[in-house]
Symmetry: D3
Subunit: 312 residues, 6 copies
């Protein structure tokens, strides 16, 4: 059986190391303060409540710290919640670092970068290739460590790069089946579509939205960046406008944040690939937590659906 | 340059053989009868008007007949329309049969059947395999000749089977990238999802909806067929319910005709594969008609969007 | 004045026997466990909270048990809630059985069955009559005891049969006013429309949805059952398809769960009768709890409306 | 077989008297004027085109006149259209009056008035009775001759009164099955709900909307009238407000023209009765035109549905 | 720095006089009663919780009373909440009256009345002028003290009149820029549009909806009032219908409560002026609570948006 | 009475000079070619049909040419249409130039530029001032001649600048009433909000969308331009992001093309000013065509409403 917080069920007891991703103080309905902790290990995360906390507790269990915790997994409104019996901050003697407990992409940054570089290397359209390489290089450091979102899917360390790598594999398979697709364009769209997240989000951990993220959004930011890159590289070609369109349209519909719907074939395919990879990722994680014959908790980003895990 | 009716542009003259798919009589606004003909060749179809027709014309140019036609392609409200200069029914001397002019799948029925049979052969779950084989065999003849729809996508001879074959290729590629997917279930879903169309539609050519198609629809019909097949094969297993769910949910949302949304992972993926293949098919055909730097006519089934064909 | 839990108002004290329909444990925001009990008598049900429960309490007050309870009715977010002062499990000496406290249809199973049988007896179309009799007989036992839903309306013992009987009376009155209606078809539609609930729901009490109910739904299940019944009775006639359509379309719209809207006159009328009976039932129960000049609590299934009880 | 324009089918020839309900001049796409006539007899109406009309024709065949017409019924975009071969204005010798050809309620104004009077007579609540009698008497003449609408349902002479009479029968049947309903209130609601149409519409024939109808609408107008009537009768009682609410809410939803949804039980039932009678009326007329086994033309006011007439 | 409850931030301590606008008793999740107080001063209001209250507390801190309170402002689900440390009812010695603490319009009733009177005085259309003066005079007392709503915007003492005065200023500025507008009509629309609130709402403080407000609404009520006023003044002119239309249509759309959309130019402009003044009012109050560089709490009536206060 | 094409009514005859804005060839339903001309003078435009055109006619009456035309104004589906009796191309002898007939802003380019320059001059925030001046100067020529749209509102020569000037007046009036508004920011938003139209549209006359306009849209284009301008001016300040937000959000909602809704107060006000000016412009032009007591034709961009012109 697989271990880790995402594999435990209701009623299981745990005694393990975890990482405090965030810690929020609030007042209980009896007027006393308590902390809502989001605890993670490599497999996922769980919410936990720490009741009747002192001011000292509050400081001790502030976010971004590793802890040893004993407790029981309970059901709270259809979701898992950890009832803490004991919790303490780790010491050097525990031999545990945040890196042991933070969820991260299953392959290394180097491998991901190599793979993406190979895709860029094989592009034959020099305008598309240069723009893509230029922008990836410019934001490479953040691209390799940021999550793809604050929640819902790929919301872990290096999640952004990992999402791109999975999408490139999908794009590559689809291009083989529908050879009229312009693969340079599609690959560039995959690599750049969410790169604006390095402006929209605050960083690789304890990620929140920046003011720029709220007021402009990663789509608009990235369309601008492509325009500026073209100026810097002195590229004046239709490829720029089309790449901007792919990024602009990748949410598929105005009400989902794309002011223009896909109007180029590769833009439509990019939208599908993005959705398919994100949805499989979300379903997988919800299904990991249940046994055959059970339904998962409701997944908000999947239209609040609950999924069934067959017995066969 | 490719030839065929789908590759001509506004202003081109044609002198070619075509097949009358349908012929509808109406009154012009001057009170005189005219015929609206849908003419096809292997590459597509076009609307044509025949003005001031006599009763004899009407019979001569009734549907499902091959003709020799001269005329000019014009723009009518953003769509191609053929202005007929001359038209005559073919004679034996022309050496032309409907089969030469009817749009059909690009691969033969035998090849398609072999490919699907191979997918069924490799299934390891005996319940899924038996149900799929049983139903395919039962409706094989119609399955291999029916279109996938009356319009929008794969609306040609053998279009249903061809859509399934393309989707199997997509499913196979996706299963390799996301190995936790149950491939037997997904392949069976692909093969069966639209099989109810052999009840919903009237036949392989001049296809219209049957009363059963209007009142029950191919989804409900097929869910029933799976239930009956299970009875005939004496299979009482959860696989039946899950296969019925895949068929039931493949339109994705209640307002699109699925009374239950996908609630099993393979059902969600099936919905995506179905959409992706249909949409690429529709975009390809719209884009075939335009030159680089132009926009296509609006495609109703793609939210009435118009697509741009880049210059590079 | 009428007695029973549905007739008490805010501020009333009660000292009565009740039945625990369900008991759910949760953690209070002070970290201590409490039980949320749904208590019923013949007139309705009320939510009650039992605070700071021991493990023994938890077992004692698990669901499906009769209790003696003292307490006060209070207002909680616009709804009635019982504040328990004392609660104990009944003993033989109390002379109380669950049947005394479970909400049930106001007429007996025998009377309901007699009435429905009479309606079937009077049908003149043999195909409709045989199918209806066959299916009713096959699922008679569950049909007579199941509720019509888990909540909202007719969610009590024998609620399904009672809803059908009320609808038959409505159908009969309407058929007299609009004599062109096919009454056999309409009555059969009424009797069969919700019969799939015996698969969709888990049983007559503590009712939840089954996996089949979630993945296929009572409409699809019943359409299948009609198809299988036709095979068993060797009926090959249009009546089958039309009856399936009536069941399929009785929710009225795709977004309400009917993949096809009513396209036969009796299907449209069935949809109206179903809604009208359900809505009057819901309004009556909400209005029972308030005094003239007051508004009821909001009724979620009636678009969250609140209803006014006039003073005259 | 029933005769009359609503009972003829495509391809039938007619030679009969008809009434010109309206006549609209327009230009054909060859630049010549033509008239679009709406011709009626007792059973219904049909559109007809008169091509290449002279100025004299135009005057001769202006609206509200009886004619003798020969022609053929044809299919125009899924609807019946009359192709006129001969048309002439009737003379005294024909012995035909408009009253012989205008569609009207199937029972006389006297019978309708008697029936409604009886319902009012039986009311026990004096406030409701007085208001209803007062308003009916005030607008009796128009009430008995106006249609219920310009199109869709009951759009004929005396259609308003006939719709009310049918609804009273329905209300009476429902009140017997659900005796907690306040029947005085419900009957008054039925009688008054559409009375504002005598302001909203221009008259019993060639009916169009008035400016007041467009800017205020029959609902708002009637709510005002109830208020004024109460002042005139010096009734200050809650019944006034509730009756106003019934009228205000009878369209059921804000987006259908009721600024408040039904919040009194009888208001909800009134909304259902209104809809049910209107919809059966619309379905009946569409179904009259087709043979068993056929679908009707699409009915716009029934969500553009087409209805199937079973073969049994 | 500005003082007052609307200007404090999270973490600030207060020691001040406040007015209890409302006091609601509920049970904490530990089963003990507590009070939710809405406390106000001139600048705004804040929610506060008083835990574990005795029956005496409950009476002491019932609504509409002035208190002295010490406590801390905390964050509760993104909103300000006051944690009370001490609270006592004021005595004569405090020298504080409700009028010192109740939020009210920033200009006096007299000034507002003068301004509105001036606008009426300048009207040149006697019908519009007489109706407006008549109705304003009839309901002047309530008009000058009622709030414009129970929440969202202008929900304070004299808020209704203040909203009207601001709108008159806006109307006056717009009329100067678009001189084709009928200014008499527009000003009358502004003055009368919300006057029905004096029926819809219960009074100037602790405001709730009346039964009439719920069942008919201020729009319908006011349209009736205009009709009655016209009768009383024996005005029979189109101005009445148009004024009724302006009031009827001022919410802009059926789903926002206007059964007819604006169909007269001044009606459309009235709708805009109403919205613009209300929205600026709401944004101002949300922005007052935050510092430059911060986002406000979400404002439900502004589509749940959060607003950013720039740093420059 | 005012003269010009926008002031004529149904039945009026005209004999005047007009400008052919566009000319589209199509086939009549009798198979013969005809031209649809859009003819304009200073007051507006009208559609006209020219039947049975020869190839020579086609060339003669191609777009962008001045003509002398006699004809009659008729009603076609609720809209004005000109029935041409005579038409000829003007000669030098007529002494008419396109400038005499093209609809244009009522004030000169110089006046508009002076006014806008004055607004910029008075800005106190140097970052906002420099960006605004820089961009206006860069695109000044096109800004002063382009229309604001291809149809609906301000779709005439210099319409874009005129719309901006009207909005500045509105902004100025509103800023005086709500002095907390940042007027520099609001004025800059007004000046820049639609400047991207100089890329989105093809030019000042016979205006169509460019490929860039279709694929990116004027909002996205202008947000990019602000970013590039900031780089060119080396401005790194929050003002840039906020200005970009104002442009991005000025359509108000995602489904109207703004991927972010207004989240800054001035952005919300900008959205209102833009709408109000556009709507008054559209209503004015529709109302110009009708007499008191009539309704206008339906205006698509105003939710397809028809407007009433009062008699007083």
């Amino acid at each position: 059986m697989e271990t880790g917080i995402n594999h435990y069920g209701i009623g299981d007891s745990i005694d393990t190391y975890m990482y405090i991703k965030s810690s929020t103080k609030a007042l209980a309905s009896n007027g006393k303060p308590f902390l809502t902790l989001i605890l993670s290990d490599k497999t996922g995360e769980i919410e936990a409540k720490l009741w009747d906390v002192s001011e000292e507790n509050e400081k001790t269990f502030a976010g971004e710290r590793t802890v040893k915790v004993q407790g029981d997994i309970q059901n709270y409104r259809g979701r898992h919640q950890l009832k803490i019996r004991n919790i303490r901050v780790t010491t050097e003697a525990d031999g545990i670092t945040p890196a042991d407990l933070i969820q991260t992409a299953p392959i290394s940054q180097e491998e991901m970068m190599d793979k993406i570089t190979q895709f860029i290397f094989e592009m034959r359209n020099p305008n598309i290739q240069r723009i893509t390489r230029h922008l990836l290089k410019k934001y490479q450091k953040d691209f390799l460590t940021f999550p793809a979102a604050t929640k819902n899917h790929h919301e872990f360390y290096s999640g952004l790069a990992y999402h791109v790598v999975s999408m490139l594999d999908l794009a590559s398979a689809i291009v083989k089946l529908y050879p009229k697709l312009d693969k340079d364009l599609l690959y560039a769209g995959v690599i750049l579509h969410d790169l604006g997240k390095v402006f929209e989000l605050s960083g690789p951990v304890s990620t929140v939205y920046t003011a720029e993220g709220n007021l402009l959004g990663h789509i608009t930011i990235m369309v601008n960046e492509i325009g500026k890159a073209a100026d810097e590289l002195s590229i004046k070609a239709e490829e720029i406008m089309i790449l901007q369109h792919l990024v602009l349209a990748h949410h598929g519909k105005a009400e989902w944040g794309s002011p223009k719907p896909p109007m180029v074939k590769e833009a439509e395919v990019l939208h599908y690939i993005d959705n398919l990879d994100a949805k499989i990722n979300m379903m997988d994680r919800a299904l990991e937590k249940v046994k055959p014959g059970e339904f998962t908790e409701r997944v908000f980003a999947l239209e609040n659906r609950s999924f069934y895990k067959p017995n066969f």
